[in-house]
């Protein structure tokens, strides 16, 4: 085969049990640099559990998550020290939560929300931090004169875009997104999706995107995993899975989508 790139993330036999109940089970995949992986399934199918396990926020019952850092070293996420893990989380990774309140500091200004990651890695020049933050507000289509306003005064769509800026400002290589277009109006959703799509392409980001919205994954994800009762029932190229679903559950999922 021609492309012998090393996976950015390797997931092996990953399972998370809640007592006797299955969160997710026997998950196995590689994520390559620049790849956007969509995880779809109905609520309760284990997709958010899986996302949390991948993003070092929920220790799995068994299995491993291996991430290749900027130096090319493979890090076994749950074997690594907590400080190493947390450093990754605020430099190499980003997490976009469904509810912006989980991902933003609602009581500090938009500028500080975006600047926090820069300060966390040791930037100590106020003027530079503010300039970078303002630039990022522009990139996520928030007016520059809102830089000192608190996210509490923002609309849902703006909060979500601010959350994206806050995550991307540190130049992460991998972004985890949990229903990023969740509680948004359709028109606002379209704008956010377009923005995400552009940023992901322009920055060459890798991403893991959890959603129940097949239109969202068709637009954003290169590759798709379909989850059902904690297990991956089908995975492959996004358009292949959506246009030629093999598994009964995927066929049901695809055929259940209402066409506008």
């Amino acid at each position: 085969m021609t492309t012998l790139r090393h996976p950015l993330m390797q997931v092996r036999d990953l399972s998370k049990m809640y007592g006797a109940r299955t969160g997710c089970r026997d998950i196995d995949f590689d994520l390559y640099p620049g790849e956007v992986l969509g995880i779809v399934g109905e609520s309760g199918s284990g997709k958010t559990t899986l996302l949390n396990c991948l993003s070092a926020r929920l220790e799995p019952t068994s299995g491993s998550v291996i991430y290749q850092d900027r130096t090319g070293a493979d890090i076994d996420i749950y074997q690594a020290s907590e400080s190493r893990r947390r450093l990754l989380m605020r430099t190499d990774w980003g997490v976009v939560h469904q509810n912006p309140k989980d991902g933003l500091r609602m009581r500090v200004s938009a500028g500080a929300n975006v600047g926090e990651r820069l300060m966390a890695v040791g930037q100590r020049h106020y003027g530079d931090i503010r300039e970078t933050a303002t630039d990022w507000l522009g990139r996520v289509e928030i007016a520059e004169d809102r830089v000192d306003d608190k996210p509490l005064t923002f609309s849902g769509g703006m909060q979500q875009r601010l959350q994206i800026a806050r995550n991307l400002v540190s130049g992460p290589r991998l972004v985890f997104m949990d229903e990023p277009t969740g509680g948004l109006d359709v028109s606002v959703q379209a704008r956010l999706l377009d923005l995400l799509r552009r940023l992901v392409t322009d920055l060459g980001l890798s991403a893991v995107l959890v959603t129940h919205d097949l239109a969202v994954v068709r637009l954003l994800a290169h590759r798709l995993m379909v989850m059902h009762q904690g297990q991956v029932v089908e995975q492959g190229l996004t358009d292949q899975v959506l246009d030629d679903p093999q598994h009964a559950y995927t066929q049901l999922l695809v055929s259940s989508v209402l066409q506008p």
């Binding site: 085969m1 021609t2 492309t3 790139r5 390559y32 790849e35 379209a190 704008r191 999706l193 377009d194 799509r197 392409t201 068709r218 637009l219 290169h222 590759r223 492959g236 190229l237 358009d239 292949q240 246009d243 030629d244 093999q246 598994h247 009964a248 066929q251 049901l252 055929s255």
Partner: protein, 233 residues
């Protein structure tokens, strides 16, 4: 040139409808097809013969159950049936183009961006990519005033021409065309024929479906008949 760029061997494709009593619909059975550089092979047969399914399988949009689709990618051969998703995406980025029947419209993305995107994905500078996109759009008679608009509100013919411009923006070594001239007027149909002939001259291997007999006549080097396979199933 007679160097093959695409070799299909013993390709089988069935649809199993799990939610409709597990009905199995065979579509392709034992397809063998070789397409050489600079050659245009037109899939021929009545509707329902599996022409579109074959084309979609060649693009790895459909997943065959058996067989091989080997494509010359970079300097190697890759089997699209067995390839991993990221490998297929790499083939689609550099080697394999596809003009579908309908344009999948993305909200808010301008026509110019849609057409130049495949070039930019190859790492070509935005300005250069847009120059090529503009040239293609002019050639296909999309008025300049529309370039900055998202094609959601365009007519069917306009959308199809944007789709063609998108498909022809990169000089892919292998190109799949699914009725690219279906909803076009005579003038634009001629432009598409010209584009195809130019691509062939560059050495592009083309597999297409053309219902329009005139167009077929102009571009086809040979027909690939598909009736029998369905009957055999």
């Amino acid at each position: 040139m007679t160097s093959p760029l695409l070799i299909v061997e013993n390709l089988h494709k069935t649809f199993t409808l799990h939610n409709q009593g597990g009905v199995v619909l065979p579509v392709l059975k034992g397809i063998d097809l070789t397409v050489n550089a600079g050659e245009c092979v037109v899939l021929h047969g009545p509707s329902g013969a599996g022409k579109s399914s074959l084309l979609r399988s060649l693009y790895a949009n459909y997943k065959p159950q058996q067989g091989q689709i080997r494509i010359r990618h970079d300097s190697d051969w890759m089997d699209l049936v067995a390839a991993a998703p990221h490998e297929i995406l790499d083939v689609r980025k550099k080697t394999l183009g596809y003009v579908s029947q309908f344009l999948r419209v993305i909200p808010r993305v301008s026509t110019l961006d849609i057409v130049s995107e495949p070039l930019r994905r190859l790492g070509i500078a935005a300005e250069q990519a847009e120059d090529k996109a503009r040239a293609l759009l002019s050639r296909l008679r999309i008025p300049e005033a529309m370039w900055s608009l998202a094609p959601a509100t365009f007519s069917g013919g306009e959308q199809q021409r944007v789709n063609i411009a998108h498909g022809f923006s990169v000089n892919y070594p292998v190109l799949l065309l699914d009725e690219p001239t279906a909803s076009l007027d005579a003038e634009n149909r001629q432009t598409v024929v010209d584009l195809i002939i130019e691509a062939k001259a560059r050495g592009t291997a083309i597999v297409g479906i053309f219902h329009d007999a005139d167009v077929r006549e102009l571009v086809a080097d040979r027909l690939f008949a598909m009736q029998a396979y369905k009957d055999a199933a």
